[in-house]
Symmetry: C2
Subunit: 164 residues, 2 copies
DNA sequence: CAAAACCAGTTGTAGATACAACGAATTGCT
DNA sequence: AGCAATTCGTTGTATCTACAACTGGTTTTG
């Protein structure tokens, strides 16, 4: 770790070259802002004793689906989790009574995860807390225009990841 | 789950009320874009058999510190992880020889995590892959102006989380 | 129609994280 | 100096996740 090594090191640092530099810096900001905001919001949710984000995501996906039900693999795709992980996540939520699993009559392999009344109730009680967290730790710090730009830009990032 | 329940349900959906709506939609875009981009980049890193992001973060933080060393709690703060988690993460990285732990001569409780030559080498071989991933899955999809806005806006989000 | 290929969901295993409780060391107060 | 409070890092425990192998059901194909 001598002088020379340090000098060469500059070449790979995130803060490095010309135009790319700003994108890399923005990437780091993106990562840390995400981590920090998520942490705050999860803490708010835990303190209010409502659903954690992972459960909320599952139940909201079901809520938004036709008949409030989805096949397991559809659900896995909707919330960006592996099928294996989803099996256990859904099992936990089912154990809490917030959704139920029903066999698909048209496909013996398949299961539907279905939102229960209790699950809907949990969504309702969680949302105000979640919305408050989003506002306090995210939305409140952005101008209307920034919200617009951010949404539009990140949609392209998302679309690219979905395709590639 | 009758008609009435559905109608009331609209009230708590993320796509809901006036001005707040756009911020909530942007929040969801923010979350999913982050998850999708991270997943792609982690996959690139794994395929290239270089460091995963969590290790990279630790080693980069050390690299950027004076003498390439940091106390454990400083490191924990720098990469947004709990101390308990850091203990094990650092243990794994140390086992791989990419950093070493040295007692702090000035404080018997404290340890320094120090970047090793091998760790520096790993950082160097990882960065091109990482940079490629950032460009492909993030930077490439944004205009200069969007990068600017995004960085500026998310810095405020980050700062707020750091304070509050 | 039977065998192969494929697909859905689960499970074994390993790894990683958070929270809280702990032991060791330091600091501050009197 | 001496004791209480604080800080540092680790560890016990519980949760949670991913990956790959596996079971059972479905579709394809010769």
């Amino acid at each position: 770790m001598d002088e020379k090594a340090d000098k060469e090191g500059e070449e790979f640092k995130v803060v490095s070259e010309g135009l790319e530099q700003k994108r890399n810096v923005a990437w780091r900001t993106f990562l840390t802002a995400h981590a920090a905001a998520i942490e705050k919001i999860e803490r708010d949710l835990a303190e209010a004793e409502v659903l954690p984000l992972s459960w909320y995501d599952v139940l909201l996906a079901l809520y938004e689906a036709p008949d409030h039900k989805l096949r397991m693999h559809e659900l896995a795709g909707a919330i960006l989790v592996t099928r294996g992980g989803l099996t256990r996540l859904v099992a936990r939520i089912e154990r809490a009574g917030l959704l139920s699993r029903e066999p698909d009559p048209d496909d013996g392999r398949g299961l539907h995860a279905v939102l229960t009344g209790e699950g809907l109730e949990s969504l309702r009680s969680t949302w105000p807390v979640y919305a408050g967290g989003i506002a306090e730790h995210f939305g409140h710090h952005l101008t209307d225009e920034e919200v617009e730009v951010l949404d539009r830009a990140l949609r392209r990032v998302l679309a690219a990841a979905r395709e590639g």
